[in-house]
Subunit: 184 residues, 4 copies
């Protein structure tokens, strides 16, 4: 439709990405439909996900740690009901060593809902990674108050949930260890 | 439990992040429970989401484009049932200009399911951003075959879905434009 | 594997259901793998979703109301992170009249998270139905306390969210009315 | 807003439901805002989820079977991106015996995407129930063709996924059995 501006976001920066051809096709179709458009390529913005630029650990360090892990806990805030992009970047660089290992989720939010929606999306990702996501999750609410001095980051009831969750991770870790070679 | 190694992933790199205190607490509790652990900080890995390091567009360019947009189309592959981290990084840097604008999703996959699961997670994010996510989504399957020459990226049936989806984006864009000032 | 009992739940009761053949095949394969199994058919339990058996309204009443509606609000509790089955049964009996109508979600919970996870799942369903799910949702927490006398069902801050959400439903309803015939 | 009709759906039929007070409040607020409204109560429609009214098994039969199960497979179609209401009704009547048991999902669809979106929603529910949802899911596409004679319900590649998925259910079932009493 004439007069409308409908840009197309290309949402991957991976070398060899195939979505680029798809995005280019969509741009062409929008033009043919007489709207104006533009390709917005996430790879163009040099997005760097780091608060401590000095460190620059090798990703192999992460992969070794996942290899060694018996279980994992992920702590992350909720942004717009989803997980932070930098968390997803990190999770996606590894694929094999997650399998059949338990994972517990701690979601963090400045609001009242404690990031519960992020935890659900993340649970689908950890499931896809082959992990066993334990049922209890820990949802930290009002984190701004607690970290700015007044509140209590882990009041007793939340601390109890945390311990239960860690207990589940440990229970599964002990049961599933050596899981790659099922008993004959 | 003794003998278990349960690392904690801190899943945000934002300056001022409050999840760090939460993650540190979880590390302490795991140690107290007699398992071994370690903090894995996503900020330590210098994750850079870009295939074209030279460009380095300013993020203000993106924000202006979203400001100007009447509607948006997002094209992205599915990784582990979720959206790419770099897409989320980009979406999260803006908040106001998305509101009441239509968005269409094109998901891409090398498999048979066309990234439909990613599209669902992304739909929750675009909903949180205040956008109207149009109902038809476009799911591109077997993208590797198509881009490597043999297949057809958009066979007629998929092209028809794409046109329908763009028609919906345009229909909502025309209706909702000027949406920030509701009629009195 | 010998000694394991792995029943198969057939999760639809619709006349003409095709999942029955799939479930039967899965039962056969499990038997061939030497585990024991049994088909559990949801249709066998005569599940009736009603607390007021006397009324028995015709479903056409619902369909007419959806036809007439300019927008809809859904109020529902969260059970096991999802929506109640009876709500889904009702939503699924209609398909055309939802299209391009705004919907607001009010989720209810006896816990602290106010059914936010249910709201996310429901949002994907209302999206599939062709509705525009407005961004603000209302999450009622601790409902047991409030309805048993002591608490306040809608304290001022929650009441404000409710009004904002209804304002959005009304705004979209006014804009989108007559949506079935896009302007030429 | 005057002239708008915004009905409120009360989405639960459970005896003792507390969402009724919430829905009533929403109805009152909509009226006060000068729109017209009406309460649509799912309990009023006598929704019966059964294709075989004669059988009428006792729900205790289901609960005993879940108690006995070492693992479970759920076969269900996708309706509007979600699970069938009758499946949710059945799952929700039991709570304790699911815990730490593996479950595999077989989703069924007449379309090309094989119900993958339903499988994701269901995975969040089975997670909430305390089950271990194995990573591979089975997605049956084009089921109408296959059951009406021409197609093959389980072509070799899909049959292989089914066997892998069942193998995972069995692997976890063998490992987790007796899971209620963790080793000291």
């Amino acid at each position: 439709v004439k007069g409308l501006f409908v840009p197309v976001i290309l949402g991957t920066a991976r070398p060899g990405r195939r979505s680029e051809a798809v995005a280019q096709h969509v741009v062409d179709v929008i033009k043919r439909r007489d709207a104006s458009t533009q390709l917005i390529d996430v790879a163009d913005f040099g997005l760097v996900a780091t608060a401590t630029p000095g460190r620059g650990l090798d990703l192999a360090v992460y992969q070794e740690m996942m290899e060694d892990a018996d279980g994992v806990v992920v702590v992350a805030p909720e942004y717009n009901h989803g997980y932070p992009g930098e968390l997803k970047l990190l999770l996606d660089i590894e694929s094999h060593s997650y399998r059949r290992k338990p994972v517990g989720i701690v979601s963090v939010s400045s609001g009242l809902l404690g990031g519960a929606r992020m935890a659900e999306q993340l649970r689908l990702v950890t499931g896809a990674l082959g992990m066993v996501t334990v049922t209890p999750s820990v949802h930290v609410t009002n984190v701004a108050d607690a970290t700015e001095g007044d509140g209590d980051l882990f009041p007793p009831s939340l601390q109890a949930v945390l311990e239960t969750m860690l207990g589940e991770v440990e229970w599964y870790a002990a049961r599933l260890r050596g899981g790659e070679t099922p008993p004959s």
